[in-house]
Symmetry: C2
């Protein structure tokens, strides 16, 4: 498999963790987002959204959208599972993951922040926007799992929820969010980061890290 | 079941279609988003994100995030299916749906547009932002299914992809996007709108429509 990504992309980071949890190898093909390499015609032919990640399977099929890629990995390599078996628990895990993957990350990604700058917003206000988006998302996530004993978001093993949480907390810190306000999320993050699958997927451990 | 929604919320619209496709009834509880009813403490106790939809099942369990709700409905009421059986096809359907549910809709929702106004952006620029987001998302979606014969997004029956597409096209038109640029999407929309499950879920056919 080939994973098109970027060390700092939190969506690519989710898929790196999933591959590690499943014990699957992939050739990592970095695209420098700040240099706009994701908008090169050759990459747009792979993913018309011009976003990372994209995963090419061994037969050359292209998969896009990190959550769809992770669901696919979980379907074809079911062990260890990244979703619980019970439908209601699956829905809870997916809802937590999508609170990040839909309502948080895309509203503060590179493309949106660049657009805010184009509209004449001062850099300080752009950073405030990103921090606001992260606070909104993470405080809802904190409430969603406040009664979950953990230590992971949902139970004693990582799920899709943790795969979305850990990269988002990294973003939140980068934008100056005081993450101490989310003790339950930090508990899950600590449990996750103790696992090599998460540690080896971290941005700073990627070959294209700056 | 109880569906917390709003006639014009495109995320609630997706779930209304899913319930109709599955032949399931639900009590509809509207929350007027423009009046901020989704931020009332009683509703935040149901969904800490302060977003619609939220679905309460007959045992009182609360589900949030439209795509997670639809996946759950599809798991517990598998017929007619809203996802194909083949894992790679499922991944394609989910990727299309998430291109809308992650990268398009949340970047142009009421909350984000309100924030842009708070930052001093003129109304014309706010509308341009929403149109830009819709064009970016829909043009990628058009490419994603350009080689799919249809008539639906993926094959001869509606899937999660169509459930996300039809409400998003309604948004795009509301923001003045020239949707004629997306003939393949319009073909899928026409097929979907011919079904009562979609027609009955349309915003203008809801009791709280204005």
């Amino acid at each position: 498999m080939k994973l098109h990504g970027y060390f700092r992309s939190s969506a690519a980071y989710r898929v790196r963790i999933a591959l590690n949890v499943k014990g699957l190898g992939a050739e990592h093909l970095p695209h420098h987002l700040r240099k706009g390499e994701q908008c090169a015609p050759a990459y747009l032919a792979i993913n018309p959204q011009g976003l990372v990640p994209a995963l090419e399977d061994d037969a050359g099929a292209v998969l896009t959208q990190s959550v769809a890629i992770i669901e696919w990995l979980d379907e074809i390599h079911p062990n260890p599972p990244l979703l619980p078996k019970d439908p209601l628990r699956r829905a809870k895990v997916r809802a937590f993951a999508l609170a990040i993957a839909c309502d948080t990350h895309p509203v503060q990604n590179l493309k949106v922040l660049a657009r805010l700058r184009e509209l004449g917003l001062a850099e300080e206000k752009v950073q405030e926007w990103a921090a606001w988006v992260n606070r909104e998302g993470l405080s809802a996530c904190e409430t969603l799992i406040k009664d979950e004993p953990g230590p992971f978001c949902f139970g004693d093993a990582p799920t899709l929820a943790d795969l979305c949480l850990v990269p988002q907390l990294a973003n939140a810190r980068r934008f100056g969010v005081d993450v101490a306000a989310y003790p339950r999320l930090l508990k899950a993050e600590a449990a996750a980061k103790a696992l090599p699958a998460f540690a080896n997927a971290a941005p700073e451990n990627q070959p294209d890290a700056e």
